[in-house]
């Protein structure tokens, strides 16, 4: 790790002042930043320990859940109201990492975790995300875990979060505060596609802090699932994951939401494809058709070609689980 200065602000205002330094990094649970510092990928001049900020509460008011940026992934997933009313969120969080990592990892940090692309982690290789302009070693390289949707010629990395896939389906809002004051970012606009600026994972401005994530109550009852497919049954990042939710009335689909993890630089949603489900019967042939539609522009990079078929099947399976009201159990790994 490089050498750096350390500050421990008690207020959001003091944290924002400290983060005005472009070489400063906020430190929350540390499970991603400390890892990247050990690899010399992150080399902050100043570490701003935000753990004393008053951003640790979970508030439920009416139909809204508001989660402070420092709420741990465990506290959020096991919160009784979240278990009862936002079970898709709980399920996705519990599908990620391990219990001891989730005890440390925070809500804000989860949104801002960086890609697990091997080259991004290895400063001796070319990587546009780590060193803009140096090239992308994953294109034509080892790219089994990489993107099949929305990639660019500059970067084919994926966003690794599970929680964010659920937040995309739930239509969350990210509350941020920075030198210019407070603003709210709709979840779909929070993460971005790589384009020609893969060094930017999201639309947070320099010096801005995430203060909370707000989530409306879902309307889909038990018709949801979070299906995560990976190289081992637990404690591994998604190759493909699907958060799916259906509103079903009188035997037809009134509304549908589908987000994919592990396939793009951000949780992938296709609103047009979702809308094509409206008025249709919740049956396998309909689910297979929408899966094909969502993957219509998918492009493999060689080693990850299998993800196109995997994602197509995972979407159809997830929609069948949602329609049956049988969400994937994250302990018993049998896929119904």
């Amino acid at each position: 790790m490089n050498r750096y200065d350390y500050v421990r602000p008690d207020t959001v205002a003091d944290a924002i002042t400290a983060l005005a330094n472009p070489d400063a990094r906020a430190l929350a649970g540390g499970t991603n930043l400390v890892d990247l510092m050990k690899y010399d990928v992150a080399r902050p001049a100043l570490v701003v320990d935000i753990n004393r900020l008053p951003l640790k509460s979970i508030e439920v008011s009416g139909d809204k859940l508001r989660v402070g940026a420092l709420v741990s992934n465990s506290d959020l997933a096991w919160h009784p109201d979240v278990q009862a009313r936002w079970p898709l969120l709980a399920s996705a969080i519990l599908a990620g990492a391990s219990p001891q990592l989730r005890n440390a990892a925070t809500t804000g940090g989860n949104l801002l975790q960086r890609t697990r692309c091997y080259y991004f982690y290895d400063p001796s290789t070319a990587c546009n995300k780590r060193a803009p302009g140096s090239g992308c070693s994953a294109i034509g390289g080892v790219n089994r875990i990489h993107a099949i949707l929305g990639a660019s010629s500059a970067c084919i990395a994926v966003h690794p979060s599970d929680m964010c896939v659920a937040l995309a389906v739930l239509g969350a809002t990210v509350e941020v505060e920075g030198p210019q004051g407070q603003r709210e970012i709709p979840f779909a606009e929070f993460h971005r596609l790589p384009g020609d600026m893969p060094e930017r994972d999201n639309t947070l401005q320099q010096g801005e802090l995430i203060t909370a994530v707000a989530i409306p109550a879902p309307q889909f009852g038990s018709h949801f699932t979070y299906l995560k497919l990976r190289d081992r049954l637990s404690y591994a990042f998604a190759l493909v994951s699907v958060a799916a939710a259906l509103q079903i009335e009188n035997g037809t689909i009134k509304d549908a939401r589908i987000a994919l993890g592990g396939v793009a630089h951000k949780p992938w949603r296709d609103v047009e494809a979702e809308q094509s489900l409206r008025g249709q019967a919740p049956e396998p042939r309909v689910f297979e058709a929408v899966a094909q539609l969502i993957l219509r522009d998918a492009k493999g990079q060689g080693e990850n070609d299998f993800k196109i078929e995997l994602a197509t099947r995972a979407i159809a399976r997830a929609l069948a689980q949602a329609a049956a009201g049988m969400p994937q159990n994250q302990s018993d790994k049998v896929i119904q």
């Binding site: 790790m1 490089n2 050498r3 750096y4 200065d5 350390y6 500050v7 421990r8 602000p9 008690d10 207020t11 003091d14 400290a18 430190l27 649970g29 540390g30 499970t31 400390v34 890892d35 510092m37 050990k38 570490v47 320990d49 753990n51 465990s74 096991w78 990492a97 391990s98 219990p99 001891q100 990592l101 005890n103 440390a104 049954l233 637990s234 404690y235 994250q330 302990s331 018993d332």
Partner: protein, 168 residues
């Protein structure tokens, strides 16, 4: 706001019931502090990347990978390591159960496994064998002693549940 140049920072930590006043650089991890400065070598450095769980300790009662925690960020915390689990020479029930079920081969992962299992029992979210497997998945065992590890934890979980039932 506490502000420090990159030098030694004063912190206080209670480790296994003993309070320590320390001065440490902000880049020292909790794992390195425990092992190198406090000579508590029970918590192991398997991967140093959050991927194996060998460094698991209890911080304010919660199991956490100490390799990814900067010690300065835990100023004021109470830490329990494997060395602090036994009560006055009496093995912790999990320690006794690991011995009874032969839940290790080389033993390298064992301190992390036992601290993790202690955290699991305290959390109270684990009620079945499948849940033990899932909620212990953050602890790898290269010797593959998983079956016996799960047996050892299940044993303690069941006797605690039975005790609770008897008390009610």
């Amino acid at each position: 706001m506490d502000q420090f140049a990159s030098s030694r920072i004063p912190i206080s930590l209670t480790v296994n019931g003993q309070r320590h006043q320390l001065a440490i650089e902000p880049w020292v991890t909790l794992l390195d502090l425990l092992r190198e400065r406090l000579s508590l070598t029970g918590a192991k450095k398997g991967c140093d990347q959050g991927q194996c769980g060998a460094c698991t300790v209890l911080i304010d009662g919660q199991r956490i990978n100490s390799c990814l925690q900067l010690a300065v960020t835990r100023d004021g915390a109470e830490i329990t390591t494997i060395e602090g689990l036994a009560d006055d020479g009496q093995l912790h029930p999990l320690q006794a159960s690991f011995i009874k079920h032969d839940a290790f081969q080389c033993g390298y992962c064992t301190p992390g496994q036992i601290c993790s299992a202690a955290g699991l029992l305290a959390e109270g979210h684990t009620h079945s064998r499948a849940e033990i497997r899932e909620h212990m998945s953050g602890n790898l065992c290269r010797c593959g002693a998983y079956t016996n590890i799960a047996d050892a934890i299940e044993d303690v979980m069941q006797s605690r549940a039975a005790m609770k039932e008897a008390a009610e």
